[in-house]
Amino acid sequence: MGERIVVTSGKGGVGKTTVTLNIGAALALRGKRVALVDTDLGLRNLDVVMGVEDKIVFDLVDVVEGRCRLKQALVQDVRFSGRLALLPAAQTRDKDTVSAQQMRQVVAELAEQFDYVLIDCPAGIEQGFKNAVAGADQAIVVTMPEISAVRDADRVIGLLLAYDIPSPRLVVNRLHAKLVRRGDMMSLRDTVEVLGIPLLGVLPDEDSVIRAGNLGQPVVLGSTRTAQAFCNIAARILGQEVPLLAIEHEPGRALLRLLGFAG
């Protein structure tokens, strides 16, 4: 039976979809079989960020309503030799189309065939959140070192406890080294301290993520710091101890340029 992990944040726009895709892709690169589930009915996005939007035939709602078998709805990503698959959300239906019980069944069925099922949760804490959480036995909470994102993450952590997911792990996304150094962004340490849950990983604020999204390519296929950070997170999920990227202490680009290391 595979592990069933929901990726959630409360607030929208903090990077849930990117994090879901790239943790999944990094686990696939490590040889694990991974299924990604987009539960954002009506606002699906995992397919475009992944770059497989033109391969979709059936979706989550088709599976739930019995129009196709689960296997038929799964979109395989050829770049990961069949180890990464997506169950897309329906784009034309709303969040109430699927019940928590139906979600639980779909995720359980996926967990029989895959080592990891990563569930991309919609923003908010309404029915879509409840559905996404229903099938999971673990959670990753994504936040940014920003007051609104941290507040919403805290709320979600409280709700996860109520849904019997007792030890969610934290991913801090878009940590901006320069802002932290000049005191205009909460540090990684502050963010983790305020939320009080174990840290799974930290991601730098890097342009490469936008570019990868534009191209529909998982970040982990490149060789950026963010790619490295995602691989570290995957390693930690697999139980390895990997030191955190020292994002806040890396030399700024201006200094590197001065020393002749960067253009």
């Binding site: 007051i147 507040r151 805290d154 409280g158 406890l161 109520a162 007792p166 005191g183 909460m186």
Partner: protein
């Protein structure tokens, strides 16, 4: 020129206040009133001043709930006569 405020620090301090309310589902005013009442009760038994009492929140894992904790330092000062 005045020194620019460290906005990351301000954010953290503001968050602490907001989260105390969010987690306890009590307003800042309610927490302040409860605290004042408790200090008054404690003060009738021991030498406790307002600054000796602090409130903080613990996220309980086992019971799936957040706990509002109160810590009162009963200072070893001479008892005032009542």
């Amino acid at each position: 020129m005045t020194r620019r405020e460290n906005s990351g620090f301000v954010a953290k301090e503001r968050l602490k206040c907001v989260l105390r309310e969010d987690r306890s589902q009590m307003s800042a005013a309610t927490i302040a009133a409860m605290r004042a009442d408790l200090v008054q009760v404690l003060a009738s038994y021991a030498n406790v001043r307002d600054e000796d009492v602090s409130f903080y929140l613990l996220r309980g894992n086992a019971e799936n709930e957040t706990k509002l904790m109160m810590e009162a330092t009963v200072a070893a000062r001479p008892q005032y006569s009542r």
